[in-house]
Amino acid sequence: MKCSKCNNKAIYERKWEGRAYCGSCLSEQVERKVKQTIRENNLIEKGEIIAVGLSGGKDSTTLLYILHKYFSKTNQIIAISIDEGIEGYRNETLERAKKLACVLGIEHKIFSYKKIFGINLDEIPEILGEKQKINWCTWCGVFRRYILNQAAKAINADKLAVGHNLDDEVQGIFMNFFKGDLSRFQRLGAKPGIIGSKKFVQRIKPFFEILEKEILIYAMINGIPFSNAECPHSEEIMRRTTAEMINKLEFEYPGTKFQILNFYEKLRPFMTAVEIKENIRSCENCGEPTSRTNCMACELFDKLNLNLIEKSLQ
């Protein structure tokens, strides 16, 4: 099959469009769409400091690469990585993150659980002294989001860009639907979370309309250093099942993922109208934003007999 644009050999087919692309033309399409998403959703304003969450995986490395390509002249871009202390996984991904930041000449800050909290993620079950299995993704996710927000604030970032792609977004829509979590369901999109809260650095998702497969191909053909390693603690069974279900639908009915996202975006005005927003207040312990009395990070730290207030990045 030939590329629909230039007649070279195609390496990727967008069945829902009835078009195929060579590597170069696919790259052009991906970059164009990212710029369109940023423009239409006002994700990046000229002069803003943009922090980029850089794990070293394909999504975050590709995001840094594209943001550097198009915004490094108008914006300061700083990469932030989190080292959770996961043996046999994070070292490899961090090496790729360091390599890319170095090649692009981007300031790169690495924050580790060990330095900030005094413990690695791997040590938590031992500290808890419990034999039952812990939910790794809950512990890791809460602490990572906490550090990312703190780190972005510490470098005075105006926005925190993350590599969430269209597949992540559609999975999020379904998972919150399955869990009946209307509040989180409402908080998806290109500018997720609580818009306008000074306690949160606004997260932005420039890839929320880009398919995961297109990002992987983009990274491969553009020679971006990334790690395809899987976290040994990864146990988000519901996410995996949901992803498989959506991929089956996408194969049978090409364009399904876009249709789901489009439907969600059409729902958005109605969701805002029903006022299901939670009251955001300050955690009574550490002052971070939360909808509870104490934030999730403090609640989890309480279980470890550690006090988060002493673990600031400032």
Partner: protein, 62 residues
């Protein structure tokens, strides 16, 4: 004909495509990228006897 996918030998009919190969191992084309040496293949690309394919999972990370 015989092809190799990520180190495993698979028997397919002559003229089989990438999609046929993926179906034979119950892999969804949406979830993987198929490479033959440095070339990324499409579902409809025809395979040859002795081809060595590399399957790269699209979903990765944590």
């Amino acid at each position: 004909m015989q092809i190799n996918i990520n180190g495993k030998e698979i028997l397919l009919k002559e003229g089989s495509t990438v999609l046929d190969a993926l179906k034979s191992i119950n892999a969804n084309p949406e979830s993987v990228i198929v490479k033959r040496k440095d070339e990324i293949l499409l579902e409809g690309d025809v395979l040859n006897d002795g081809d060595e394919l590399e399957l790269i999972k699209v979903i990765s990370g944590g």
